[in-house]
């Protein structure tokens, strides 16, 4: 019941960020939309681990967080360099 509600909430957040990724007027909006989708993926992995009692996939969470940070920094560098030209 609670797991179902949580999974539906993360699906809704992912759909919202996909729509923002589709429309988004600037490149920075698209980067933020991908970041929010990544965080809802992290939350879904955590919910699955709590439901099944299997802690193997929890190692993925740190990797996903660091990859999202590096992607955000690289995209912001790119946007700043494009603006400076």
């Amino acid at each position: 019941m609670i797991t179902m509600f949580a999974i539906i909430a993360f699906a809704f957040t992912s759909i919202c960020s996909a729509l923002r990724l589709w429309k988004g007027p600037t490149l920075a909006d698209r980067v933020v939309a991908l970041d929010v989708a990544l965080i809802s993926l992290m939350s879904a992995i955590a919910i699955y681990a709590g439901e099944s009692g299997d802690t193997t996939y929890l190692n993925l969470l740190v990797v996903i967080a660091v990859i999202g940070f590096v992607a955000t920094v690289a995209a912001s560098r790119y946007i700043e360099n494009e603006a400076g030209k």
Partner: protein, 104 residues
């Protein structure tokens, strides 16, 4: 204990829904960054608290590592993205631009 887990997970899910709605419905870029960069890590924080009550000590340790990594890195990345978007923005909503003076 099951009530505490369930209420923490429900609060995290509602915060995640609010982050999605704010990302989709707000009308300026800065407001969208504000909605996405503050609500979503707090939502993950609540979810991690709830799940770490369900799993044992090992799962709680891994979730603690993930929460520390997210809470440290995400505001930093959002700040860099704010600055880049502010520099790239053609139509500024502000009357005076204080970014060159403060040089953040």
């Amino acid at each position: 204990m099951i009530i505490v887990e369930a209420s923490l997970i429900v609060v995290g899910s509602i915060l995640s829904i609010l982050a999605g709605v704010g990302l989709l419905r707000l009308d300026t870029t800065y407001a969208r960054f504000h909605a996405a960069g503050k609500a979503s890590p707090i939502a993950f924080l609540f979810i991690a608290f709830g799940v770490s009550l369900q799993t044992g000590t090992k799962g709680a340790a891994l979730l603690f590592l993930a929460v520390v990594a997210l809470i440290i890195t995400l505001p930093l990345g959002m700040h860099l993205l704010f600055r880049a978007a502010h520099k790239a923005n053609e139509h500024n909503y502000l009357e005076t631009d204080e970014l060159p003076r403060d040089n953040l």
